[in-house]
Symmetry: C2
DNA sequence: CAGTATCCCTAGAGATACTG
DNA sequence: CAGTATCTCTAGGGATACTG
């Protein structure tokens, strides 16, 4: 098999092919491709959900990491937090418009990973 | 803004909305969304490249992480390593067909991150 | 229910030196 | 040039306990 060049092109600023160390996109990329970040964004792509629901779906996440991940995504304007002043507390999380846009790119990636996982890890063609 | 549901759908196995802890796709996802993994795959989407070239492009990567990342991606069948028995050594890396397919999903994501980075990190609408 | 606050701990990242 | 081999270190992540 020969080397190929991807049809989808990178932003022109990467035209020299260098990904600068201090580039802000690195930070954003770290947030949205983080282990738990992806899963939370994906879960929320199915619609608004509560804390406990997210915890159940992103199986294996600790409370600490759920809180941290949600805060980061909220600060980044990707996730919206709606808190009701009731007892017991009720908090709903959902995607913002921007988060929704992003999830449209993430879903195909996760689907691909899911569909190719066995072949990739078990080495068969 | 109201909660929305993404048009792109997840694999049916995720229909219950749960991402199982032991799911193989988690491992694959970790590889391809790793800090350096993304950048290497992206760099290679521009075509075959040598070790030193990759090191230059993924600015800030250490030799250790470059070696480790390339090995993982090669084992996963995403990257092809072609070594010439010459002195000085010459090794070329390129994407396999599967890696190429993946890069088609990664490029839009990185482009999105690049285009939205400033607004995300500086908080303006 | 929806989180904080702590403590602990090691895997993973970087730096450096060396080599075929 | 294209890597390995070590060493070091800390910050990310888990577990647990507690709270408005």
């Amino acid at each position: 098999m020969e080397a190929q060049t991807s049809p989808a092109r990178l932003p022109a600023d990467f035209a020299d092919g260098v990904f600068p160390a201090g580039c802000p996109s690195r930070t954003v990329l770290d947030h949205i491709t983080s282990k738990w970040g992806v899963l939370i964004l994906l879960a929320l792509s199915e619609g608004e959900q509560r804390w406990s629901e997210l915890r159940r779906r992103a199986e294996g996440i600790s409370e600490k990491m759920l809180a941290q991940t949600l805060k980061t995504l909220e600060r980044d304007g990707l996730v919206l937090r709606k808190s009701q002043p009731v007892i017991p507390p009720r908090v709903d999380y959902s995607l913002t418009e921007r988060g929704y846009e992003l999830s449209g790119l993430l879903v195909p990636l996760v689907s691909w990973a899911y569909n190719n996982a066995d072949e990739i890890l078990n080495g068969q063609r």
